[in-house]
Every structure is written in C-alpha cells, then in structure tokens.
Amino acid sequence: MSTAEESMLPRVRVGDWIDTAFDWIDDNLNILLTLFRDVMTFVVEGLVDLLMSPPPLVMVALFALVAWLVSSWRLALGTALGFALLISMDIWLPSMQTLALVIVATIVAVALAVPLGVLAARNDAVSAVVRPVLDFMQTMPGFVYLIPAVTFFSIGLVPGIFATIIFALPPGVRLTELGIRQVDAETVEAGQAFGASPWQILRGIQMPLAVPTIMAGVNQVIMLALSMAVIAGFTGADGLGKLVVESIARLNTPLGVEAGIGVVILAIFLDRVTSALGNPGRHAGSLLARLRARRTAAGGPQPTTTSEPASGSSSPSTTETSVRAGT
C-alpha cells in the first residue's frame, strides 16, 4: 500500500506522463536533437581547440588583458595569478573545457532569454505564462535536468550543455523583462510622441536603457551555467566537473580540492568581467575607460555659451536621473 492509496487519493503519475512526453520528443523530434548534438559538439570542441592552441602562458596573459580592458589592473593581476595556478595545478585542459562549455551555454541561453524577456515585457499575457514556468525551472534541482538530457543525448558533452542551458536560462529572461519594464515611462513616451515605431523604441530607447539590468541577468546566467557545468560532469562531459565526479568516486581529496579551486577561479573571473561590462561607468580605471576619456578630451569643441550659472551643473541632474530610474 502506497501513501496515496492510504489517503484514498489517486496516484497521479506525473513522472510517467513526463517520461512519455520525453519519449515522444525523442521519437519525433529526432532531427532537431541530432542537429543540436552536432552543432554543440562542433562549437564546444572547436572553442576548446582554440583556447588550447596558444601556449597556456599566452592565454593567461590574454585573460589578464581582458580583465584590464573592462575592469582594472588589480583584476588583471588576480586573473594572471589565478590562471597561472590552473596551469600549476595541472588542470589547464579541464578548466578550458569547462570555460568553453560555460561560454557556449551562456551564449545560447542569452540568445533564447533576451527575446523571451522582451516578449514578456511587451505583453502581459506572455509574462503571466512565462513567470511561473521560470519559477518552476529555477526551483527544480539542477540534477533533474540531467535525466531528460541523458534520455535525449545519452552521455558526454551534449547532455551536459543541454542541462546547463535550461538551468541557466531563467535569470536571463527575468532580468531582461525587468530591465525593459523599468525604463522610464516618460522616455518611452518621448519616443512615441516623436512618431517612433515600436521597433525603433525597443532598439533605440528600451534596450540601451535596459542594458545594465540585462547584463546583471547575463552575469547570473554565467554563474548558474558554471555551477551546472560542474554538475554536468555526471553525464561525462569533460572538464572540471568530471574531475570532481572522479574525485568523489575514488575519494581522491587532492583532486577534488584542486578542481574546486579551479571552478572558483573561473567563477571570480567571469563574474567580475561580466559585471564590469554591465557598468562601464563604474570602472574608470579600466583600459577601455581610459581610451575613451583620451578620445573625448582630444576632439570636440568646448561649449561656448550658457545663460545659466555653471555652479551645480552636473550634480543635481545626476541625482535626478537616478531618482527617476527608480520610479
């Protein structure tokens, strides 16, 4: 006697139904699944080859340069040390494999999430449907995604990346929707008042003003992708996750710790770089900011006339903008 029978409730076989649905997908959408498998394998393996083709130390320098470009020399230094440690711990290849998986999964997730978020922001009905689905996706334990992934793609890299994409998607959709909805209503009205089409308003006003929020979403997508990429080790996807799985199986503490440290190093690097990309204004010390400052200082005529006192010219308006952004 099961609990359901004891409570005189029918046994609802949700799991069976879903399983049937998966079987149906597996049988009928085989072409799509094959296409996904082939494309993902090609792209991820290609990216791994690319990351592995220069000598590792050159790659370390490149990663440090990226950190300096978007953030600061401090992050660049930290990146150089951290990535050098990856080499020294002899986990360079699995680290690059994980990085490639995270990058590709993020790109696919963002490519799906942003249009979906835009749709949800523009249409309350879409939003009402999407929101509970996202809640469901986000609270579902990540491991569960591995099951259909393995059903569809057996084991290896592809089920790992599939599960990673699904798992990482929700914050991308959510924050895109939020970013667009919180664009100042009057600014959107200005676009309408001058006769801009919905597409012109989306491209010229809503998307640019939503960028910081969308980038915060991308940042979360990357973090979730990284955590899922480790779990993807269970499906046999190459990378740090696989090392973790092995270390558990063999109770190999040193291997597990080193793989864990590798994940942390990647996580810090990806987090800092993407959050700096979302708020370029806050990183005055970055190379990009310096280049930009030099260019504006060199060119452009200086303003000549104003009929207002110059005092307090920029600070009040800055606060005003930020206040408005909050409403």
Binding site: A190, Q192, F194, G195, T304, S313, S314
Partner: protein, 397 residues
C-alpha cells in the same frame, strides 16, 4: 479656423471604460465610477486652439492635465470624443497613420525632460529627425540650429547628464523645435526647474513662439505661469474644464467659486493689463476746440476727466473739470491741458508698471492701441479696484 480642436473628449481608465462614458453622460459622479473601478481622468473636454496661440491648461495635480495633453497626440486614445488637427480626425487614426501625424504635426516637451542619457545632446535634439529617417548630415544641421535657438550652441557633444536641469529642458525644447511641427505640446515643461530658471525659460518660450509662430498647448499647475504664458487658459478640475478664457476674463469673471478661489492669490498687478481694466472713453474733444465746448461736455455728462485727441484720435492730453472752469472764467481760448506731455501706456502694459506713474498724476492714465490711438483711460480708482481681490462689480455695489 482652429488648428487644433477637442470635441467632447473623455478618457476613462479601467476595464470596459465605455460604460463609464454612458454613466457620466447620465449624470453619474466621479466617485460613483471610482466605486466601479473606473478612473475618469478627462470628462467632456472641448476646446479649440488657433494657429499661433499659447493655450494653457491649468489645474491641480490629478486633475487630468497630462491625460488630456496625451490625447492630443494619441498617446492615450480617447474613450469618447474627437481630436481634430487641421482637418484630420486623430481619433480615427492608428499605427503608422498616427505615427505620421506625430512626426509631421505635433511634438512634445516633457516634465522630466525624457532625454536619452546614452546619447549626446546633439543626437537627442535630432531624435525626431532620426525617427523620420532624415540623413545624418541633414539632421545634425537642423539639430544644431535648434540648439542655437535655445541657447545651447556648442553643447552638442556633451551628454545630457553633464547639463543642469534647465539646460536639459532646453535640449528637450530643441528636440521639439528641430522636428519643425506646427504644434508643440508641453506637459509641465518648466515645473521641475528652479523659479529663476523657470522664469527665464518662460520668457524664452514666449520669444520663440513669436519668432517661429508655433501653436503651443502648455500644461501647468502654477497659476502665475499660466497667466504669464497663456493667450487663453483652460481651468481644469477633477477631469472637467471649468472655464476657458483670457487671464483677465478668468481673474475678473470667474465662472465658479472654485475658479474664483483659485485666482484670489494671484499677483493681479503682474497679470492684469491696462487694456483689461481701462474704461472706454465715452466723450473726447478735439484738440482744436476751446474751453467752452469742453466745459459744456463735462457739465452735461458729469465727467471727471475729458481726453483731448487729434483728428486721428491720437491723444494730446486730458482736461479736468476744475481747470476747465477756471479757463472759462479767465476767458482763455486754448484748452488747459493737464497732461501736456500726454505720456500714454499701451494696452498690454501690466498694471504693476502703471502704479508709479499713476501715483504721480492727478488725472487718469491714457491707454493707446498699437497705432497710438486712444483706446481708453484708467482713473486711479479703477486701478485700485482692479488690484483688490474682488471683481469690480462687487466693490462698486
């Protein structure tokens, strides 16, 4: 012919707003509709705006001004009623047809400027032109001209965030001017600015309006601003237009207690003009006439003062009863002009500018029209009555 007309406009927010229109027409109150989950923001609003006019809509916060102005360019579709621009019924337009009207006929200035923070001042000013699909070089040239008109020459490369509030609103104004539409909608455009800068912007707006001959619908909750800018003012309350009229009409002849209360604190000396308070001269006398005729007129009609005019009705001065009587006694043949210099004021001089002059004189002030002809006179007592808070009739009664 009006350039812009609103005919029995209704805007009701909520589900199935149409039923609210019916209910209101059948005499339901706002509160009754509220109870049903409907918000009547604009109720049965009708007005016409002539080309070149500054039409001000004035009312407290929540009275429906923003909703009303947004119906003029279709940002809020009317629940009932029509907006007609030139000969086009805007309420019937949708999608691209509506956007074309917005691009070609109406532009708008917003309370909080609504500039694009990631675009330069020049790009912001050119926004309407970019939407129209104009080439980069053309729109930059036109945006530069618009920026120059509002006094922002040379600021094109800056970002809006680097400018003060007043300057940002100039950019908002330049964006609207660059679109070169006949109609300009301004929703509390100066309300977010410091009083001093606001005053400066008001003067600049009047100046621009005269140069460019724009037709402006200006929204404000500041009565002094309404009186300063408006050729005519619509007083709004709880979604309805209570009264439409010139500043003088609203001050001197409020249609309801509400309007009267509203205007009682206005600085009348700044709002009322000589033309609004002057009395029509019922009798004048030609400059070539003698004291006898003047004496006769004054005696027969019990006049306090008699203006003296040339053949073209330009004033020479005023004669007063006492002096005329003396001249007749002395047997003089010329008129004893009290105001030999005949210093006059024009119709649109604010009363504030007359006070000093009036205090120095014993005779009424002479008011002339724009061809210099006598239009009226203002005795001191009239001036004082006009400046007191009560409509003239009440005081004299």
């Amino acid at each position: 012919m009006p350039l812009l007309a609103a005919e029995h406009l209704y805007k009701i927010f909520g589900r199935r707003p149409q039923r609210g229109v019916e209910a209101l027409r059948n005499g339901a109150t706002r509160a009754e509709l509220r109870a049903e989950g409907l918000t009547p923001a604009v109720i049965d609003a009708s007005f016409e705006v002539s080309p070149g006019e500054i039409f001000v809509v004035m009312g407290l916060s929540g009275s429906g001004k923003s909703t009303l102005i947004r119906m003029i360019n279709g940002l809020h579709p009317a629940t009932a009623g029509e907006v007609v621009i030139e000969d086009e019924n805007l309420s019937a337009l949708k999608g691209e047809a509506l956007r074309r009207v917005r691009r070609e006929k109406i532009s708008m200035v917003f309370q909080h400027f609504a500039l694009l923070p990631h675009r330069t001042v020049g790009e912001n000013a050119a926004y309407g032109l970019k939407v129209q699909g104009m080439s980069r070089s053309d729109r930059e040239a036109r945006a530069d001209r618009a920026l120059e008109m509002v006094g922002l020459k040379g600021w094109g490369e800056s970002l809006p965030g680097e400018l003060s509030g007043g300057m940002q609103q100039r950019v908002g104004l330049a964006r609207a001017l660059a679109a070169e539409t006949d109609i300009l909608l301004m929703d509390e455009a100066f309300s977010a600015l410091d009083p001093l800068i606001r005053r400066e912007m008001q003067d600049q707006l009047v100046d621009l309006q005269q140069r460019l001959d724009k037709t402006i619908v200006f929204i404000t909750h500041d009565l002094n601003e309404a009186m300063r800018l408006g050729d005519r003012i619509a007083m709004m309350r709880d979604g309805r237009i209570e009264q439409i009229g010139t500043a003088e009409q609203i001050l001197n002849d409020p249609s309801s207690n509400y309007v009267a209360q509203f205007v009682q604190d206005v600085d009348r000396a700044k709002v009322l003009t000589a033309g609004a308070v002057m009395e029509r001269p019922e009798y004048v006398i030609g400059a070539e006439q003698g004291p006898q005729q003047a004496h006769k007129l004054i005696r027969e009609h019990q006049l306090d003062a008699l203006p003296v005019v040339r053949r073209d009705r330009t004033p020479v001065g005023v004669v007063l009863p006492g002096e005329i009587a003396a001249a007749v006694r002395d047997g003089r043949t010329d008129l004893p002009l009290t105001e030999r210099s005949a210093s006059t004021v024009t119709l649109d001089t604010p009363l504030a500018d007359l006070l000093a002059d009036a205090a120095r004189r014993t005779s009424p002030l002479l008011v002339v029209d724009d061809q210099g002809r006598l239009a009226g006179l203002i005795p001191q007592v009239t001036l004082l009555t006009a400046l007191s808070n009560h409509p003239a009739e009440e005081v004299s009664r």
